[in-house]
Symmetry: C2
Subunit: 396 residues, 2 copies
C-alpha cells in the first residue's frame, strides 16, 4: 500500500544506507530497553509488523540480534518472543584521558564490559607523548579478533574540532593545542574513530548505559578538571553551533560558604566567578590547604572530614545554583551528575537535591530529580565508547 513515514536525516541516502539507518534505529530501541518483541518494535518504529519481521529476520540472520528464550506472557494470547542484542556481534572501544590518567574500556555488542585498562600520565608530559600512550592503551583493550572491532571513541577534555578530528586545547597538558587524534588512531586500528569532548560523550554514556536509558531529554553534568553539560534532547545529543553547547563551566555564578552545620550562605562578595573555578574537582582540591588528590577528597568527605565537607558543600551550593538555572532554561526530565563527585555518597546527593530545591523554591517550577551516575571510575571511557554505540550502523 503505502510507505514512508517521514523525511530522512538530512544527509545522504543511497539504497543500503537508508535501510541501514532504520536498522540502526531498531537496534537502538532494543539497546535502550534491553529487549523488545517484534510487535513492540513495530509500535515504536511505526512500521507494520510484517515489515519489522523482515528487518528482524535479516538482523537475526546476520548475527546482530538473538531471539531471547524467555517468552513474555502478557495476559492471554501468544506470548511475545523477545529480541535481544547478540553480545558476540562486535565490540565498542572507548578511551578517555586528562592531565593525570588515561583510561580505556571495551564493551561487547550487548554493552557488557569486556576489558579495562588505565595508565597514569606523568606531570608535565607533552601532548605527543600522551597521544602515543592513548594509542598504546587502546591496543590493550581492542578485541584480538580485529574483525570484531566496531569502532573507537575518544573523549577529550575541552573543546574539539569535529571536522578535523583534533583536540583544540586543554590547558592541563603541555603543548596541547590543535592536536590531531582521530587520524593516528584510525591509521593504527583501521576502524571508525570518533571524537567528542568528554562532557558530551558522558551524556551519551548515560543515555545508553546509565541513568538516561529510559528518558528522552536530560542533562548530564560532567565535573572533573572543568565542568561541562551534555544535553540530550529526544535521545539525541545537542551540541550546538561549533560543538559549543554545554559550556556552563563558564557561567558566572555566586559564591557560597558552608557553615559547619551544613547551612549555606552567600559569601559577602560582589564578584561572580566562573562555575568551574568554584565547583570543579580541581578547584575544590586547590581550595583545600596542602596537596589533595581526587581520591583523598572523596575518602575524606565520606569519612566526614570537616574541612572536606565544608569546601565540597560550598561547591555544592554553586552547583545547585547551576542546576536550578539549567532547569529554568531546559526543564530536563532528570539531571545526572557524572565524574568523581558522583562517588561522594548519599549524603552529598541529598544535600545537592535539597539545595537545588531551595534555589528553585521561589518559583512554582518543577524541580528535576538529580541523580548520581553509577558508571564508576571508567565512566569517561564508557562515554567515549557510547560515541561509537550512538553512531553504529550495520554494514550493508
Amino acid at each position: 500500500m503505502l510507505h514512508r513515514g517521514v523525511i530522512r536525516p538530512n544527509n545522504v541516502q543511497k539504497k543500503g544506507a537508508i535501510i541501514a539507518g532504520v536498522e540502526a534505529e531498531l537496534v537502538k530501541h532494543i539497546r535502550a530497553t534491553g529487549g523488545l518483541s517484534r510487535i513492540e518494535l513495530a509500535k515504536v518504529l511505526t512500521l507494520s509488523p510484517s515489515t519489522i519481521g523482515v528487518y528482524v529476520d535479516r538482523l537475526l540472520h546476520e548475527g546482530y540480534l538473538v531471539e531471547g528464550d524467555r517468552k513474555v506472557p502478557c495476559g492471554a494470547g501468544r506470548p511475545r518472543t523477545t529480541i535481544a542484542l547478540n553480545p558476540n556481534a562486535g565490540q565498542f572501544v572507548g578511551v578517555d584521558f586528562h592531565a593525570k590518567e588515561i583510561l580505556a574500556v571495551s564493551v561487547d555488542f550487548a554493552q557488557n564490559i569486556v576489558k579495562q585498562a588505565s595508565r597514569p600520565v606523568r606531570r608535565g608530559e607533552r601532548a605527543a607523548k600522551v597521544i602515543q600512550s592513548v594509542v598504546d592503551i587502546v591496543d590493550e583493550v581492542v578485541p584480538s579478533d580485529r574483525k570484531l572491532l566496531l569502532g573507537i571513541g575518544i573523549g577529550s577534555p575541552g573543546p574539539v574540532d569535529l571536522e578535523h578530528g583534533t583536540a583544540v586545547e586543554y590547558r592541563y597538558i603541555r603543548d596541547f593545542n590543535d592536536v590531531p587524534i582521530v587520524k593516528p588512531v584510525m591509521r593504527r586500528f583501521n576502524a571508525p574513530v570518533y571524537i567528542e569532548n568528554t562532557a558530551n560523550a558522558m551524556a551519551l554514556a548515560e543515555l545508553w548505559f546509565g541513568q538516561g536509558r529510559d528518558l528522552n531529554s536530560f542533562v548530564s553534568l560532567w565535573i572533573r578538571s572543568g565542568i561541562g553539560a551534555g544535553i540530550i534532547i529526544n535521545r539525541q545529543l545537542y551540541s550546538g553551533l561549533a560543538d559549543g553547547a554545554g559550556e556552563i563551566g563558564a557561567w558566572r555564578c555566586p559564591l557560597y560558604k558552608a557553615a559547619p552545620d551544613g547551612k549555606l550562605e552567600r559569601r559577602d562578595e560582589t564578584t561572580l566567578c566562573d562555575l568551574q573555578e568554584i565547583a570543579s574537582v580541581r578547584a575544590i582540591c586547590d581550595t583545600l590547604p596542602g596537596r589533595w588528590s581526587t581520591d583523598r577528597l572523596i575518602r575524606a568527605y565520606r569519612k566526614q572530614d570537616p574541612a572536606a565537607r565544608e569546601v565540597v558543600n560550598a561547591a555544592a551550593g554553586s552547583l545547585a545554583w547551576a542546576i536550578a538555572q539549567l532547569t529554568f532554561c531546559l526543564a530536563p526530565e532528570r539531571v545526572v551528575l557524572a565524574g568523581p563527585l558522583a562517588d561522594l555518597g548519599d549524603d552529598f546527593a541529598s544535600f545537592l537535591a535539597t539545595t537545588t530545591a531551595a534555589c528553585m523554591a521561589p518559583t512554582r517550577l518543577h524541580v528535576p530529580p538529580v541523580a548520581m551516575s553509577t558508571l564508576g571510575p571508567f565512566s569517561g571511557a564508557l562515554g567515549a565508547a557510547a560515541l561509537v554505540v550512538d553512531r553504529w550502523k550495520p554494514a550493508r
Copy 2:
C-alpha cells in the same frame, strides 16, 4: 526499489496521516525558503525526484501550491520551475493578549497579513471578560468564508496546560487561574485551536516569519511583562518537561547600573535578582519615576531621554549577562530579541551586542549574533498564528 528513510514521528500513523506528514514537511520547506523547485525539494527531503513529482502534482492539484512563473536559470541546463505557496489555500489566525491589550491577526497561506485587530484591556478586568473579548476579536479577523480558516493559535502570557488547553496563571489579570481557553474558541469557530505561552509561540513566529527562517537552531527572547526564551532546535520548538523550558525570567542575575556615558558597572549589592524583575518592560517602567507606558518608554529612549537611557541600559546589562549565559549553555546560531524592546532602535541593538560580547570576552567561545525582531507590534499575534502554521497538515 526501496523506501522509507527513517522512522516516523513517534505518534500514530495510518495511511493518509503518513503521507500527510510528508506533505506537511514539504510545504514547510517551501515556506521556509519562499520557493523551491522539485529537484531542490527532492534534495532536502531526500526523496527521489520522481516521488517528489507525485507529491507536488497532488498538492498543486489540490490548490495548496502554485507553479511560479519565474524559471530560475542556474547556469546551463533546463531552468528549475519554482513551486510556491498558494496564498488562497487558506488562512491562519493568531491572537495574543496580556494585561493591557488583545491583538489578533490573520495570515494567508503564503504568510501575508490579511487583517489585524486589537482592543485594550481595562484595568482590573476579570479573566472571563478578557476571554470573551479574545473570542470577539478573533471573530473580526477570521476569514468570512469559514472554509478558509485553517486554525487558530492562542498565545498566553505565562504557563499553559497543553493537555487541557488552559492557561495556568497570569498574575496581571484578575482571576486568571486555570482558565479554559481552547474549548470555548474551538466551539465558537469549529476549527483546530492551539495554545502556547507567548514566548514559545514567538520562537515559532521567528522560525516561520522572521529572523529564524534560515536557521536550524536559535533562541528568541520574548520580553514584555515577563521574560521567556523560546528554544528552537533543528527547526522544532523545544519546550521541555511540562512545557517548562525557557523560563529564564526566573534566572537569578546580577544588577548593573549605567553611568550617563553608557558604561556599565555592577551595582554594589550582594543580592541577585530575578531577571524579569530587572529587565522586563514592566520592571523597567516601574523603575522610572511616574507613570510610564511602553510606548512612552520607547519614544523617550529613541529621543535620547537620559532617564530612559540610564534605566534601559542598566537592564541591557542584565540582558547581556543572560544572553551570555544562554550562549554558554546552548550555543545557538542566533539570538533574536522580540517584544516592545525590539523597537528601541540601532543604538540599543549595538549596545546590547557590545555588552554581550564583553560578558563573553574572558572565554574564547563564539559570540552569537543578536538580532532584533522586525515583526512589529503584532508580533505576539503572529507568534500565535505561527503555532498553527507549524502544526498544519493537508486534509487527507
